[in-house]
Symmetry: C2
Subunit: 206 residues, 2 copies
């Protein structure tokens, strides 16, 4: 298997693993299967990654990064109002969630060494939170929203409330597949949008 450099092969492995993980799940995917997909030996995988968890984490890091970049684009898009941007984050988030709900994030978090994982997850949450803050601040700067004492805090409430609503909608919290039916998802989005509209209305000058 010839590749330009080490990083490219790492990417190819992550890509193959991502395909298997999202189709089936991480625990139902073997290192052998990933190797077969790449027409290489299993031992090669271990040349690029210390263990399977490392692959799993790399996969999550990759899709997490693309998610955050999508959000970032939305946060900085001054073409639309801040209120609309906030609305759009709901769709982006839910779309991402349904696409990657089979990635067993929670499972990994429990078994992967806490230091390595938990910090990254926290960092990602922080980044997402900061992006919400940024959108709110953009709204204040443009005069769309009234100046508020603590945009950071406000974004935190909004973030937790929207995230929480999703959890409140899956009635079997200890189930492994964190999937939502289409009907549930529609209901959830409706409620999230309503919640957000109340927030935004409170932020608008009147």
């Amino acid at each position: 298997m010839h590749t330009e450099n080490k990083d490219e092969m790492r990417d190819r492995i992550i890509e193959a693993a991502l395909k298997r993980f999202t189709h089936f799940s991480a625990s139902k995917t073997t290192m052998n299967e990933i190797a077969e997909d790449l027409h290489c030996s299993k031992a090669s995988l271990y040349y690029y990654f210390p263990d399977k968890n490392a692959v799993h984490i790399a996969v999550l890091a990759k899709i997490g990064e693309s998610y955050l970049q999508t959000l970032e684009k939305e946060a900085n898009n001054s073409e639309v109002s801040a209120g609309e941007s906030l609305m759009n984050t709901i769709k982006i988030r839910n779309n991402f969630m349904t696409r990657f709900c089979r990635l067993e994030i929670f499972k990994l978090m429990r078994q992967a060494s806490f230091e390595a994982m938990n910090n990254e997850v926290k960092a990602a949450k922080k980044r997402e939170w900061d992006l919400m803050t940024r959108i709110i601040e953009r709204g204040i700067e443009s005069g769309e929203f009234v100046a508020v004492a603590d945009p950071q805090e406000l974004a935190g409430i909004l973030f937790h409330a929207l995230m929480g609503m999703r959890l409140a909608f899956m009635d079997h919290p200890q189930q492994f597949t964190e999937e939502l039916s289409d009907a549930q998802l529609a209901d959830l989005e409706m409620k999230q949008e309503l919640l957000l509209s109340i927030f935004v209305k409170g932020l608008k000058k009147n």
Copy 2:
């Protein structure tokens, strides 16, 4: 074991089971232990309840009822403002949750026959939702809040957002013990109160 009537003995059983269930948990409590606590035979328990699940459900029904009655009192208490009443529901709910988090509600919901259980849970949720609606309506009647198009819908958003926030705060959703540390609980309540204050501010005339 002599008792006045059938209902009293049922109550005594429920009381004993409640003690064990909250101390340890439902699955770690045997029918024998409950019988021993009551100085009666296990067979007696089966005279009053068809099976263990029925005891578990009765326990949940009892504490659920007392919880809903506490909320009801708060909803009808016109001594305090509607805004304050809503604030108080947060404390009532969280207090109740921490007291009875070892009751394995979710576990029961999965195994107990759906018809019997799920309907009751749904009914309880509906009642709680209605109480929130009632408080909001009280606020409108008293002139504290502006008239809003759909108080029922608004209460639903608030209810789901507050409930969801709690879920968002327990980082191990598939853990069986749904306990929150003191620090987490304090943070949660702070955020819930802030969320509510935003809601209430939006409802106030200005």
